[in-house]
């Protein structure tokens, strides 16, 4: 029993950079060796198929032959698609629009969603609020139908209608 500290995260035995998340016992002849590997190196060694949530480059496809990719540069901050892949960070709010088509799968992978349903900006346009309300109601409607609460579903449907006809 060790009372004070534990080894929680070990560094990968191969690259010595990433956290080791997988342990393997390799048997060579009579000698047993325990290997602690990161997912990347484990995949390279053929142990598993690599899947790392934060490996953003994987989710932003880059096909250099695709002419559109070469021309993708944010008009506001000048960030290129290549740079976005390398640094995995946006340069300005406009980047979101510039690279929109390419990054939607990324958000799906990271968050499992591509639609914000949280807080709205106080001064945001009424239109945004309306869209958001409708979206939230639709989500509640789905839930209500799934749980067979039909009375509640009817009320929500009326609400959606009310919002859709609002100008």
């Amino acid at each position: 029993m060790y009372l004070y500290s534990i080894i929680l995260i070990m560094l990968c035995d191969i690259c010595h950079k990433n956290d080791a998340t997988i342990s393997y016992t390799v048997v060579v002849g009579e000698k047993k060796t325990k290997l602690h590997l990161c997912e990347e190196c484990a995949a390279k060694k053929g142990f598993i198929k690599a899947f790392s949530l934060m490996n953003i480059q994987e989710f932003i496809p880059l096909d250099p032959n695709e002419p559109e990719v070469k021309n993708l540069i944010c008009p506001k901050c000048g960030l290129t698609y290549k740079e976005l892949r390398e640094q995995a960070e946006f340069g300005c709010s406009k980047c979101y629009k510039t690279f929109e088509r390419k990054i939607i799968p990324l958000f799906q992978k990271i968050h499992g969603s591509t639609q914000h349903i949280g807080k709205l900006v106080c001064i945001s346009a009424e239109r945004d609020k309306k869209e958001m309300k409708i979206f939230k109601f639709k989500k509640r409607l789905d839930k209500a139908i799934k749980s067979e609460s039909y009375e509640e579903a009817a009320i929500i449907r009326d609400e959606i209608k009310k919002w859709e006809t609002k100008n």
Partner: protein, 344 residues
């Protein structure tokens, strides 16, 4: 000589570690933060230093909170002190120009300007109290958003530099002491469970390989496609579950190895009470045993509040600021041992 603005911080421990609040023995603090950007400016990673100043001035002139200090006013030691205090991030402390720091409400509220995003605001409460921390943060954010043009889209929500923050821009985290799960070697199972459910967990004092002091930080990973309230609620429920597992582990340890456990706790207390040299690491680990002793009702003479205070004031930059300059590690270990003997 440290910045005068740090004098109050040097005299008093932060409010968020006052040992009050729900499960305060096990849960040191609940923290929430928002990442926000302004739509007309490039994000800090694509902004030149002089333009960073422009962004900072724009923000300061548009909000009602005037006590914002430029990071360049702080010495390297001051900045380490602010990192130890959880007011600024380690990354941020390496920067100099065009960055700002705000500290309000006895350190319950903090602000970083031009960190990874234009604005990072956080709110911390003692114990398990994510709701209150969020309520305060949300109020401040509402105030800011009335006068600042946030980068926001109805589809992706708050637009942030890193795609892992996009959406709500909300990261909620809880600092929790889990000696029972560590000693019973169940912690790995808990880590796996948390990962599977979309939470991040890391050692609070960790060099990347070892976790010291059995202190863990558990936070949400997903920020998009979920409401702020859901994030808070999910994390809250998950923490209650983790505490349940921790308590079970403790009961088992007590019934199987009570004598060994009591021995370790009393030995840890005696070392802290008598040592003449104490490294930071050793203190963190021994203080975990003492905390465990308080939690189990074994060490009745040590107050939680006192122990928490020690955890803050024995950190390297804190010790050095208190004597007004840099000292080497041996000297720090002497000072730390002395401070602990006097205050435990």
């Amino acid at each position: 000589m440290g910045n005068k603005k740090l004098n109050t911080l040097l005299k008093n421990p932060p409010n968020w570690i006052d040992g009050k609040g729900r499960f305060a023995e096990t849960i040191l603090s609940s923290r929430v933060r928002f990442a926000r950007n302004l739509k007309q400016f490039n994000f800090p990673n694509r902004t030149k230093e002089d333009e960073l100043d422009e962004i900072m001035n724009f923000i300061i002139s548009h909000i009602n909170y005037k006590c914002i200090t430029s990071l360049s006013e702080f010495s390297p030691l001051d900045k380490k002190f602010l990192v130890e205090r959880r007011i600024i991030s380690r990354e941020f402390s390496k920067k100099t120009k065009g960055r700002g720091v705000g500290i309000w409400e006895g350190e319950n509220i903090g602000l970083m300007l031009n960190e990874n995003d234009h604005i990072r605001i956080h709110s911390i409460c003692s114990g398990l109290n994510l709701e209150l921390a969020y309520e305060k943060l949300n109020k401040l954010d509402d105030e800011f958003s009335e006068s600042l043009p946030y980068a926001f889209s109805s589809k992706l929500g708050y637009l942030t530099a890193c795609p892992t923050n996009t959406g709500t821009g909300l990261r909620a985290s809880v600092l929790v002491h889990l000696p029972g799960l560590v000693h019973s070697e169940q912690i790995k199972k808990i880590l796996e469970m948390l990962h599977k459910d979309g939470f991040l967990i890391k050692g609070f004092y960790s060099d990347g390989t070892m976790v010291e002091g059995n202190l863990f930080q558990i936070s949400n990973q997903v920020t998009l496609g979920i409401t702020e309230e859901e994030i808070i609620d999910k994390l809250h429920k998950m923490i209650l579950q983790v505490i349940g597992y921790e308590n079970n582990a403790r009961e088992l340890l007590l019934s199987n190895t009570r004598a060994q456990l009591e021995d370790k706790i009393w030995r840890a207390y005696s070392i802290l009470k008598n040592a003449r040299l104490l490294s930071n690491e050793e203190f963190i680990n021994l203080s975990s045993a003492v905390r465990f002793g308080i939690e189990l009702g074994i060490l009745k003479k040590v107050s939680l509040q006192n122990l928490n205070k020690l955890l803050i004031f024995t950190q390297p930059a804190h010790l050095q600021e208190s004597i007004g300059g840099m000292i080497d590690s041996t000297e720090r270990n002497v000072k730390r041992a002395l401070y602990v003997r006097k205050n435990l």
